[in-house]
Symmetry: C2
Subunit: 124 residues, 2 copies
DNA sequence: AGGCCGTCGATAATCTATTATCATATCCCA
DNA sequence: TGGGATATGATAATAGATTATCGACGGCCT
């Protein structure tokens, strides 16, 4: 069965607190503050476990390494800061019902919107 | 200076004919039909050169290896077929002026829309 | 408290994509 | 047409991300 370890707790806590998709390296950094000595292998192991259990959800952004975010959130998109390279959540807004048109014969089943720019922290 | 070789011609021709973003491997396959013996190293070399010269434009899609498309096209987005893993161009349609909202303090400078589904060929 | 077995950290190994190397071939100007 | 600079193809090397290995540690059930 699955055990309750300080490391696993730290990883979950880091992701919950951040409230945004994090890369394994980011999780490692944030997790170290909560569990000294945390190793990258442990981070990868737990990201995998938590994803398989459904608690986490992988987020792929163009040209970026996979991030992970706590699942269960309503449909939303992502924002990538060009300065600090951090990803953020962006609430679905744009009139909810855009119709994405593809050439005839194509069946659109999902879409992904990625915004690029500068985040609040880096703007200052 | 830059020479005119059958290989370089084949690579350009393959990309032009396809009319969609292609991965290096796809360019190699298509290019072999136009220049027998074409090697992957030559493909990478020329994709780089053509990109630096502005003739090609890199296309990054989430979780996918970089594709390349002939540049100079009007603003558009991309469609990725879940069956054959090929990328296609999709004309900008959705009323042109969506406003993408990000949290206050965030500056949105660009956006990317990726559609997922099944292409016309794979639907049949 | 004892002990089993999941977990950890360090690091080696792997994997995929891309670039470098180098001997050979070839384009193109003189 | 001759010859040198550029290009090519096979393959080795590199780079970055992720996974496997393995001895030691430590939750947690009894």
């Amino acid at each position: 069965m699955e055990r309750d370890t300080p490391q696993r707790r730290a990883i979950r806590e880091a992701l919950t607190r951040a409230g945004r998709p994090m890369s394994p390296a980011e999780v490692l950094d944030a997790g170290k503050a909560l569990a000294a000595g945390l190793g990258i292998a442990t981070v990868y192991r737990n990201l995998k476990l938590l994803t398989e259990s459904g608690w986490l959800c992988p987020v792929d952004l163009p040209g970026e390494t996979t991030r992970y975010e706590v699942s269960g959130k309503p449909h939303h998109h992502h924002f990538l800061c060009r300065e600090c390279d951090r990803a953020f959540e962006v609430a679905e807004h744009c009139s909810g019902n855009h119709r994405f048109s593809a050439p005839s014969g194509f069946r659109v089943e999902a879409h992904e919107i990625v915004l690029y720019g500068v985040c609040a922290t880096c703007t200052n």
